[in-house]
């Protein structure tokens, strides 16, 4: 994989040669071919998909459904009926909450999440628990982000109806053994929902091999446009679930008081869909295929090891999560003695290094770890060693620039 060549495919990277973009867990940059594909949809194929009985609308429909097939194959699902297009992982998780939970949760039932979840995998369950008189339980992790099996087993019980867990933590970068936890959940009679927002873009995810009941992810974190995401659900579950949103394009027959709903997946896609973004996501998946997922993973592992090495050399820097580079999956969250993360991010910005700072939409985890706010650098395969070195060098000067004595340079 030749990073220099790959970077040329990303117009934003070319437009900002001085910028080290290290906020890929928030959103990735988009390759030229993805931008073009979305644009081409509007230039050449724009019509309302799934409706028109004319060639153009059929072309729009084909483009949209082709993207669905690409998404299906990407996560190895059985059928395109199991691929619901949403806006993003957040909407996918909300769909499960409003549709499945409101229909099937009973008073006293339990939902189990981990303390490391992103707010998008917490708030939908807080809502569902409140609405249905259910209990939201947490399983905690150790300082490196590992969830111990005995803790998980202890939190599971016969009242647990659903477990929802991130495959890769957006803060610690640690990968949870979703396959194992899903099997334990199933043993206990619970469903398993996997938040794949940080995993689907970076590791091969096979829903059949993992045997998860739901998988949620966002297109924009995997080279695709904003505004398109996916909910995978097992067909027999999706069939039993009532619609999430009601309106056009999700019906069969409508009379004044009632309606029958369309078949899967359209039952869950009310209103005009985001076909342009779907086309872009389809193209993003083609980019993954072109580059090869194996090569992407190898490169990201290499960068993760390097970043770990560089960051652990920065004086006064404290890295959260695993004590080993690869286990970070490109996500490095840290604090720097005495300096507020927002000040770190602002100073790095002056050096042309873009990182995230704050609570990373995971306030319960931040409380659990005892750090109200942290800074995070997150990698993609198109990043370079030079960018990571610049991150390290810039971080090494932050304390000094904030007036905290001399710290030794890298």
């Amino acid at each position: 994989m030749i990073t220099k060549e790959i970077r040329k495919e990303f117009p934003l990277l070319a437009a900002h040669p001085e910028l080290a973009y290290l906020d890929n867990a928030a959103t990735t940059q988009k390759p030229e071919q993805v931008i073009r594909r979305e644009e081409a949809f509007y230039r050449e194929k724009n019509a309302n998909p799934l409706r028109g009985l004319y060639a153009l609308s059929e072309a729009a429909t084909r483009e949209y459904e082709e993207a669905r097939e690409l998404a299906r194959a990407f996560i190895r699902a059985d059928s395109t009926e199991e691929i619901i297009f949403t806006r993003n992982a957040t909407e996918s998780l909300n769909l499960i909450s409003y549709s499945w939970a409101d229909a099937f949760l009973r008073e006293g039932d339990e939902i189990l999440v981990t303390v490391m979840e992103h707010h998008s995998n917490l708030l939908p369950w807080q809502r569902a628990a409140r609405r249905n008189g259910a209990v939201l339980r947490y399983v905690e992790c150790d300082a490196e982000g590992r969830i111990r099996e005995e803790d998980f087993r202890a939190a599971l019980n016969e009242r647990t109806r659903l477990v929802s867990m991130a495959q890769i933590s957006n803060v610690l970068g640690v990968e949870n053994d979703v396959k194992h936890f899903a099997a334990l959940a199933h043993e206990a009679g619970a469903l398993f929902s996997c938040d794949g927002a940080q995993s689907v873009p970076h590791i091969p995810v096979d829903v059949k091999a993992l045997d998860v009941d739901f998988l949620s992810f966002s297109g924009h974190k995997m080279l695709g446009p904003m505004g398109i995401g996916v909910l995978y659900g097992k067909k027999e579950l999706l069939e039993k679930m009532p619609p999430f949103l009601y309106g056009g394009e999700m019906i069969e027959y409508v009379d004044r008081q009632k309606a029958t709903y369309a078949e899967l997946p359209h039952k869950f896609e009310a209103g005009t869909v985001n076909a342009g973004a779907a086309a872009g996501l389809g193209e993003a998946i083609r980019c993954y295929e072109k580059l090869g997922f194996d090569a992407i993973c190898r490169r990201e592992k290499e960068l993760s090891r390097y970043a770990f090495e560089v960051l652990t050399r920065v004086p006064h820097l404290h890295l959260l999560g695993p004590r080993e580079g690869e286990a970070h999956n490109g996500i490095f969250t840290f604090t720097l003695d005495d300096v507020h993360p927002h000040d770190i991010a602002a100073i790095l910005d002056a050096d042309g290094v873009a990182i995230r700072a704050g609570h990373h939409c995971a306030q319960p985890l931040m409380k659990f770890l005892g750090t109200p706010s942290t800074a995070r650098a997150s990698l993609s395969f198109y990043n370079t060693e030079e960018e990571i070195l610049r991150l390290g060098e810039s971080l090494s000067t932050v304390r000094e620039r904030m007036g905290y004595g001399q710290s030794q340079l890298l």
């Binding site: 507020h340 927002h342 602002a346 706010s373 620039r401 904030m402 007036g403």
Partner: protein, 146 residues
Amino acid sequence: MDNRSFYNSILTEHNLRPSNKRELPGANFSLEGVNPNCGDDIVLRLRVEDGVIVDGAYTGSGCAISQASADIMLDLVIGKTKEEALKLSDLFFRMIKEKVTEEELEELEEAAALSDIAHMPARVKCAVLGWRTMGEIFAGDTPSQA
């Protein structure tokens, strides 16, 4: 955008060695100011006698901008009347949100060191935290237990 100049020595000095970060036993006004998103959290305390801020202090934690700005504000308003303090507050907000004249900038003394915050919209709420809290204290205007 260059923010090298932004973390200038005035700001870092007030952050590292604040002159007004302490408890204030005789305070007759106190109010907590919070930026929930960044975790900036201060308690501003004032002792006001006959409409004059005779003393003031703050405690809390947060980013350098929020802490230094509160400290600078207190340097400015201690000894001033409530009306004078609110006028400075108005000036400070205008400096950050739009424009002020050179003379107005001078009135703000060290607080003028924060004028570049206008280019960093995400940090504006940090810079105004102390000022906003003082405004809320005077809007309430009934002495509270410190």
